[in-house]
């Protein structure tokens, strides 16, 4: 890739920042070139986020109608799945699968709830609630847009 071929397509996921690529200058020497985004990357990133959002929305509907637990919604909301949640709690998959059932989750001992809450970065009380709208965004807004220290940008 030549330096002037490095895509500069202002990916919205980068929020105005650049990533770094290595590309060749006019003499063929490799050099470090910032890139503001590339169509191909943006498409596949959007696809991955859309899949998280689809899963969260499905789980939200199931929880709303009582077919699923609020825990399942919060799992997808934090961009996890069964495997990841099992790994980050240390529980076996079959156990998590069972805990995801609404009846089982409702009667889960406080100890287990705390473990899930910790893995998902929430309080045990939050796990019982359902927001008005489903989302698959990390909960705390990123301060990235207004960097605290931008002395070298």
């Amino acid at each position: 890739m030549k330096k002037d071929e490095v895509p500069q397509q202002n990916a919205k996921a980068f929020m105005g920042h650049d990533k770094l690529l290595y590309a060749q200058d006019s003499d063929g020497r490799y050099t470090r070139v910032p890139s503001s985004g590339w169509e191909a990357e943006e498409i596949v990133l959007d696809q991955a986020i859309a899949e998280f959002e689809r899963q969260a929305a499905d789980a939200w509907r199931r929880a709303k109608t009582g077919q699923g637990s609020t825990l399942e919604y919060h799992m997808f909301q934090e961009r996890m799945d069964l495997v990841l949640l099992a790994q980050s709690t240390g529980y076996f998959k079959w156990r998590v699968r069972r805990h995801l059932k609404p009846g089982v989750f409702r009667n889960l001992p406080a100890r287990c709830r705390e473990r899930y809450a910790e893995a998902l970065g929430k309080t045990p009380e939050q796990l019982d609630t359902l927001p008005d709208q489903p989302s698959a965004q990390p909960p705390d807004p990123s301060p990235y847009q207004s960097p605290l220290q931008s002395d070298n940008s």
């Binding site: 590309a23 596949v44 696809q47």
Partner: protein, 340 residues
């Protein structure tokens, strides 16, 4: 060193922040530069013999197999320091509080420290870039008012992170759990055999790419993925699109420097050509760049097909992968001979 001074009231050390393509090679090369050893990111990556290819169908991410364009996390630092005789101080922790105390102790001693963390819990990441990947690397070099001052290799500016978020990120559980890993170079030998390290690394890389006795690693791994893509069942288009999108993300997105580390490695070969005084390596760098361009055109076509901007054509994508495999086969063979 043009490190910016620490803000007033902070503990730690001034640190020269330079953006990198890849987190691990970026973190270790900037730590080494911080200690006065000139080391570019491509050189660090090349000497670590970090480049590779592996298709691991039994490791799943969100139900999709792992496609790796490099060695597993941790191997860049290990390979590099081993070949150069650098001794690293590394520590993992059982209790999060101990891990945070040890980090603070390093900063009080005026040290910059490499840290492993989950990318998801680092609040300074843009929300769309936050995924559950436990092996992200960053350098902590200061602390002020409960916030850590961070030089994150893949980010273009200096950032800060609240102590609580950093602790969560350093102590997530699961695959590749960081367990609070922190590291810094403890001893850097005054004399190093750089040409020897380069030759040994190239031997290791070509071994991996050409002669690994498993059909899922190296050039044979690329061929296997090409066959797999050719044989995808057209009836499951949603699933196929997720798979292709996943391959492209592994290749381009996760700090690879473009084309699954191929450009980064080509840049290393150019530097190596000068150190070893072998212009042949620079020619091979140009050829590897061409393969990188082929990988990128595969990525662009696959992405467009995912978005229905191009008719889905598995054979076309498989042919592109096949060409990458053939070209890399020939390049790494010649590289092996040229670096002897």
């Amino acid at each position: 060193m043009n490190a910016t001074a620490l803000p007033s009231g902070a503990i730690g050390t001034p640190f020269d922040h330079q953006q990198s393509a890849h987190c691990e090679s970026g973190a270790i090369s900037s730590l080494l530069r911080h200690q006065g050893l000139p080391m570019s990111e491509p050189m660090a990556f090349g000497i670590s013999a970090g480049i590779g290819f592996a298709y691991l169908p039994f490791i799943k991410f969100g139900g999709l197999p792992l496609f790796a364009y490099r060695l597993p996390p941790g191997q860049v630092i290990r390979g590099l320091t081993k070949r150069l005789g650098i001794r690293m101080h590394t520590r993992r922790f059982k209790r999060a509080a101990d891990g945070m105390d040890a980090l603070d102790a390093c900063l009080t001693a005026g040290r910059a420290v490499g840290v492993q963390a989950s990318a998801y819990w680092l609040t300074y990441f843009p929300p769309d870039m936050r995924f559950h990947f436990n092996a992200h690397n960053l350098v902590v070099h200061g602390k002020r008012d409960g916030n850590y001052l961070i030089s994150d290799p893949v980010i273009d500016i200096r950032v800060e992170c609240e102590a609580e978020a950093l602790q969560k990120a350093r102590f997530t559980r699961g695959v590749l759990a960081p367990k609070g890993l922190l590291y810094y170079p403890e001893y850097i030998p005054s004399k190093m055999d750089l040409p020897g390290a380069i030759r040994s690394a190239i031997r290791r890389t070509t071994n991996l790419m050409l002669y690994t006795p498993a059909p899922i690693v190296g050039v044979r791994g690329i061929r296997m993925v090409a066959r797999k893509v050719r044989k995808l069942d057209p009836r499951d288009e949603h699933g196929n699109k997720l798979l292709l999108g996943h391959i492209v993300r592994m290749q381009e997105e996760i700090g690879t420097g473009g084309a699954g580390f191929r450009f980064l490695y080509a840049s290393f070969l150019q530097e190596a050509a000068e150190v070893l005084d072998r212009p042949r390596l620079a020619d091979l760098a140009d050829r590897l760049t061409d393969v990188g361009d082929e990988w990128r055109s595969f990525a662009l076509d696959a992405a467009k097909m995912c978005k229905d901007r191009m008719p889905m054509d598995y054979a076309l994508l498989a042919d592109q992968l096949q060409r990458c495999a053939d070209a890399e086969d020939s390049i790494f063979r010649q590289l092996r001979a040229a670096a002897k």
